[in-house]
């Protein structure tokens, strides 16, 4: 990442936010950053944040690419629920783990494909197109589980959400690995360039001979894949598929993480590292709420403030306006 010296700066904002939150927590709880080794694996609050944040990270990864093309995907939370539900039901029915996981991911990819079709082929606005699957997906998830919470007793499957690999929690490793793999794929192949070109100026990209429509369609497929994986991780984490609540409002968190991470909703240049930090920031915020004893119901308020601050920081109009204000104030 060091190559891109200029693009680091947007990542600094969420990074500052993250550091500020960590400091706040440290003041309130000196053991906040303490990591010990327990039963041969790392253990501590930061590890929890990583572990619980892993799903959000995976979602943010997919969402980053969708937003980079100037779109948005509201259906990820529902896709999570549907993929988790299908895998859980299949496991309970005694299908092989591979088949169950494959089916869950397959469903998610199909859902992403449907989104991509509506957006890229039929030219429907992303919000509307993905709203459809947001509604239908959750219904489908409940249909699959018959409205029940499906318990999963499968240690191998559980590993996806709770396992440890060489003493490190598996879920964040998986998420981190995905980020690295995605980064390598996007930056070592031309995929990243194609996505950024499509998002920056779709018409010019098409004129330069890129298949902009394909690019747009495929990012939704990838986003669906990420959502499916996140759904499986969520189910594995609690050894149960809760089609009713799983992934609820996660689409908003994912969009939020991406925007906080410095990728503009208008598309173009994307920052995987920024989305990574943004998603971590969000999970740290949640944990901070627990730490401070803030009732979860009031937790939305700090989120709202964060969104507003980030929006204003990113808007050139706002900066100009505040700049003018500051200048006037300075003169007076």
């Amino acid at each position: 990442m060091s190559v891109r010296k200029k693009s680091i700066s947007p990542v600094l904002w969420p990074l500052f936010g993250l550091i500020a939150l960590v400091v706040l927590n440290l003041v309130l709880n000196h053991g906040f950053l303490k990591i010990t080794i327990l039963d041969g694996r790392l253990y501590g609050l930061p590890i929890d944040i990583l572990n619980q944040g892993a799903r959000g990270l995976v979602l943010a990864l997919g969402m980053t690419l969708v937003i980079a093309t100037g779109g948005v995907d509201l259906s990820v939370g529902s896709i999570m629920a549907a993929a988790g539900a299908l895998a859980a039901v299949l496991i309970v029915k005694g299908c092989g783990l591979t088949l169950a996981l494959g089916a869950g991911i397959g469903l998610a990819i199909a859902a992403g494909g449907a989104n991509g079709l509506l957006v890229a082929r039929l030219g429907i606005q992303p919000i509307v197109a993905t709203l459809i699957l947001m509604v239908v997906g959750r219904g489908a998830a409940q249909l699959i589980t018959n409205g029940e919470v499906v318990l999963i007793n499968n240690p191998t499957f559980e590993f996806l959400g709770n396992g440890h690999f060489l003493g490190l929690p598996f879920a964040p490793l998986l998420a981190g690995g995905l980020f690295i793999a995605a980064h390598l794929f996007l930056r070592r192949t031309a995929a990243g360039l194609f996505i950024e070109a499509t998002g920056d100026n779709e018409q010019a990209a098409r004129f330069a001979g890129l298949a902009a429509a394909h690019v747009k369609g495929l990012v939704y497929v990838f986003c669906g894949l990420c959502a499916g994986l996140a759904g499986l991780m969520a189910a594995a984490n609690i050894r149960a598929a809760d089609s009713y609540r799983m992934g609820e409002n996660m689409e908003l968190d994912a969009i939020f993480a991406v925007v906080v991470g410095g990728t503009a909703l208008t598309g173009g240049r994307f920052l995987l590292l920024g989305a990574f930090v943004g998603a971590l920031l969000l999970q740290t915020l949640t944990t901070t709420m627990y730490n401070l004893g803030v009732p979860p119901a009031v937790a939305p308020v700090p989120k709202a403030v964060l969104i507003l601050v980030v929006c204003l920081l990113q808007s050139s109009h706002a900066r100009r306006w505040f700049g003018g204000l500051f200048k006037k104030g300075g003169v007076a």
Partner: protein, 511 residues
């Protein structure tokens, strides 16, 4: 001047408009009298749009004075201009297709009390306003269901209904057919006879001669002159618009080889056509030749390029690349077949503003190679270094976002983007527009090198001298048709201009 006529309706003195780094308009005088149709002419970048925007309050003039009906005015918004009595019908119909005809006519000032609309009065008023133009339309129909010509008429009716004394028509005829144009002219003449001043912007010279009384020509943001239409021959007009007296135009470069009919054909079109864009066109582009595509704005130049490159799809005719028939379905396919296209609209069809020079430069090559076969970073940097040096692109480094470069340097990056794909044919649509003279010469030199290297080049330009200097063959388009072609020494500015202007013997006779 006619003694009976009162003072001028509108008078501009020394009006200029500067944007950061650009002078769009400098010291222009412009006078419109009541009861005349006044053509405002000039090629792209001449400053027509800027002048109109200053008049209608979209822009504020940086300098100069405007007086309307004898009073000094300075409209600050379209609304203020309308209140003064200056109404405008824009090139793109600036109405709302989803609303009804009546609403479009009266939006923002529907009759009624306290913000509530009296629909009966609205419809009646709209019907009357249209009847005044001789139109009997269903005013409740959605505007979008009408033909563009009728929409244009609604826009005119809206403008007139504002109690306008000066009507500005900004290229109202661009998408009208002959019959519709005739109807429009009837209305324009009627309005003139009622005492209205009309500014008519168009690029169809036939229309200028058909309907206008007076002509003002702009070029590069400055005034060329004001003429009585009847006194200005067509050829003279073209030369004024293009910016050279016929005799001034520099001759052909001596290096240009004679056209070679045996040279391999890269691309060949037979009867290529698209409704509302291009009449059936035959075109043959050969290796090692620069084919100039000349014609005034709106003659079908860019449309031809878009069809050849697969941006738009043809309704009919066939296209062969190296002898094989192809269905050019997308730009992607065109690139794969070894074509390249530098669009005239750099901003919306060329650059990726926030991406770096490097990324902009390798985009087409990478697109051609696909997602897996990447141009390595080393190759990318080598390509950048090569083209930055070869084309003398002025940029701090290859990682600078392209939006920070000047227009000329952006253009060179786009040229480099296409050259990097090693194309067999490159289409250059206005490659030197908005570029300073130094860069211009470099780009022209480059065109020569490309030809020498064996590329086929299709050069589209509104600058005749550019065509003359660089082309081995020239095809002239007028009104979306191929009207003439020239080879070798026959490529002469005057002949070209005649073909472009479609000069009738009467008008063109005495130059």
């Amino acid at each position: 001047m006619n003694e009976a006529s009162p003072g001028p309706l509108l008078q501009l003195r020394g009006v200029g408009k500067r944007f950061p780094g650009v002078i769009a308009l400098a010291g222009v005088d412009f006078t419109v009298r009541a009861a005349e149709i006044h053509a405002l002419l000039g090629e792209n970048g001449a400053g027509k749009s800027t002048l109109i925007k200053v008049l209608t309050g979209v822009y504020e003039a940086s300098e100069g004075e405007i007086s309307f009906e004898g009073r000094a005015v300075r409209p600050g918004s379209p609304k203020e201009a309308e209140e003064l009595g200056i109404s405008t019908v824009y090139q793109e119909v600036n109405l709302l297709p989803a609303l009804s005809v009546a609403e479009n006519l009266l939006l923002g000032r529907q009759p009624g009390l306290g913000g509530f609309i009296n629909w009966g009065a609205t419809k009646r008023h709209a019907r009357e306003a249209l009847l005044r133009l001789g139109l009997d339309l269903d005013v409740e129909a959605e505007l979008g269901t009408l033909s563009v010509a009728l929409q244009q008429m609604v826009a005119i009716a809206r403008a007139l209904d504002l109690n306008a004394r000066l009507l500005i028509l900004d290229e109202p005829t661009a998408s009208l057919d002959e019959h519709e144009v005739a109807e429009l002219f009837k209305v324009m003449r009627r309005l003139r006879d009622q005492g209205m001043g009309i500014v008519f912007v168009t690029h169809f010279l036939d229309q200028v001669y058909a309907v206008t009384d007076r002509i003002t020509v702009l070029r590069n943001g400055t005034l060329v002159g004001e003429y009585l239409t009847a006194d200005l021959p067509r050829l003279a007009l073209v030369s004024k618009m293009i910016g050279r007296e016929v005799n001034d135009i520099a001759g052909r470069s001596g290096e240009l080889p004679a056209p070679d009919d045996a040279a391999p054909v890269i691309i060949e079109s037979r009867g290529l056509t698209r409704r509302d864009a291009l009449h059936p066109l035959d075109l043959t582009l050969r290796r090692g030749e620069v084919t100039g595509l000349a014609g005034l704005l709106g003659s079908g130049r860019t449309e031809t390029a878009r069809l050849l490159f697969g941006i738009d799809q043809a309704d009919g005719g066939e296209l062969k690349v190296r002898g094989e028939a192809v269905r050019m379905a997308s730009a992607r396919e065109a690139v794969r077949l070894g074509l390249a296209f530098c669009s005239e609209d750099r901003k919306s069809e060329g650059i990726l503003p926030n991406l770096s020079v490097r990324e902009n430069l390798i985009l087409a090559l990478q697109g051609k190679q696909g997602i897996w076969k990447t141009v390595t970073r080393v190759e990318q940097e080598a390509l950048c270094a090569h083209y930055i040096a070869a084309l003398r692109i002025k940029t701090p480094d290859a990682e600078t976002p392209i939006k920070n470069l000047s227009g000329g340097n952006q253009q060179k990056v786009l040229l480099a983007r296409w050259l990097a794909t090693k194309p067999a044919l490159i289409i250059l649509d206005e490659p030197t527009r908005g570029i300073d003279i130094g860069a211009r010469a470099e780009i022209e030199a480059l065109i020569g090198r490309l030809r020498a290297d064996g590329l086929a080049v299709l050069l589209i330009s509104s600058e005749i001298e550019e065509i003359v200097r660089n082309s081995t063959r020239v095809v002239v388009l007028r009104e979306r048709r191929r009207t003439a072609d020239f080879q070798g020494h026959a490529i002469e500015p005057e002949a070209l201009m005649r073909a472009m202007a479609g000069a009738s013997p009467v008008n063109g006779g005495h130059s």
